[in-house]
């Protein structure tokens, strides 16, 4: 059971709860991708669920401290940030590699005509 007093202190007055009426829980495909990658890495034993929970909670707290309203809309942004953080901590990829690969994708985007599939090529890394 819960420490009711501590929770009450955290409680915020809100006019209504955001609802989705059984609608899609992913708003965009990248959210499902981020979610699935996390499950796949957990299956591989890269981290435990308590480790994951700690990483996600850290990101959410960091975002809240920076003024994120945490209404659920930004949830998967925190999720992705936590995943990037864990991947670095576990030595899978450095921040530099993540950054460089993201820029390569940006480059691939720029040279791909609108409407065509975006593919990453070696030339995109530079």
């Amino acid at each position: 059971m819960i420490d009711q007093a501590a929770a009450r202190r955290a409680a915020q007055e809100v006019p209504s709860i955001p609802r989705d009426a059984d609608g899609p829980v992913f708003r965009e495909p990248w959210e499902a991708q981020a979610f699935a990658m996390t499950l796949a890495l957990h299956e591989r034993g890269l981290f435990t669920w308590p480790e994951w929970a700690a990483a996600l909670s850290r990101e959410i707290k960091r975002a809240q401290a920076a003024g994120d309203p945490d209404t659920g809309e930004t949830y998967y942004a925190h999720w992705l940030a936590a995943l990037e953080q864990l991947v670095q901590e576990k030595g899978v990829a450095s921040a530099e590699t993540l950054h460089r690969t993201k820029h390569a994708w940006e480059h691939a985007c720029d040279r791909t005509p609108h409407g065509e599939p975006i593919e990453l090529k070696p030339d995109d890394f530079h």
């Binding site: 709860i17 990248w30 699935a36 796949a40 669920w49 945490d70 390569a104 065509e116 975006i118």
Partner: protein, 213 residues
């Protein structure tokens, strides 16, 4: 890459090049690295996305509840060892681990919340709804569960006690609602149609027989 069929750029109307949002770029970057290093296999990843988007949904949980309504032996096992009970139906694994079933009765109504990080029994309930992950929901449920239920259109008798359970990364909960009246003799399959996702989180009640037609 294997995911270019996703309609990633339908929002952009640039004359040149394509547009991906910051989040899409970061997701693709991470995916590229994990694929290159062999941490994930693209087919398995696609399958996972598919499972969690479509296949695994509240239907698994609904089957669990319907079985508990008709099979006393299963019901007993479910409340004694939820993980073993759902495992016996072929569900579980992944984050369905360590599942505890909570019994709603005429005097006790259970509600599940995660005040920390939105832990959720994915294996039986599919993906969590957006509101479940919002800070206001988490905080308000603990402080004022009856008010939250009212927002969801659920009014419980005054003498029904509401218990709020806080799930953790290791322990997740499934609420087993009460079987609606007028369903005597129904098959498990038909009963499962009455079980909504919200009724298994405790923010709703099962459908009534009249709701099916």
């Amino acid at each position: 890459m294997t995911h270019d069929h996703h309609d990633d750029h339908h929002h952009s109307h640039h004359d040149h090049g394509s547009d991906l949002t910051e989040m899409q770029l970061r997701t693709r970057a991470l995916e590229t690295i994990l694929l290159e290093k062999g941490y994930i296999d693209p087919a398995a990843l696609d399958e996972l996305v598919d499972i969690y988007e479509k296949k695994i949904g509240p239907r698994n949980g609904a089957q669990v509840v319907a079985k508990a309504w008709v099979d006393p032996k299963f019901r007993k096992l479910l409340f004694e060892d939820g993980t073993a009970a759902i495992g016996s139906l072929g569900f579980g694994g992944r984050s369905g681990n360590h599942l505890v079933a909570l019994e709603n009765t005429p005097t006790v109504h259970n509600m599940v919340v995660c005040t920390l990080c939105s832990c959720y029994p994915w294996a039986v309930l599919g993906l969590p709804p957006l509101w479940y992950k919002s800070a206001p929901y988490r905080a308000r449920t603990v402080a004022d569960p009856r008010g939250v239920l009212r927002d969801f259109g659920v009014e419980l008798p005054k003498d029904t006690e509401i218990q709020v359970w806080d799930s953790t990364a290791e322990l997740r909960y499934l609420v087993v609602p009460m079987r609606p009246a007028g369903t005597e003799g129904w098959s498990e399959e038909k009963l499962a149609e009455l079980v909504t996702r919200d009724s298994m989180i405790g923010t709703g009640l099962p459908k009534q027989p009249k709701d099916l037609q």
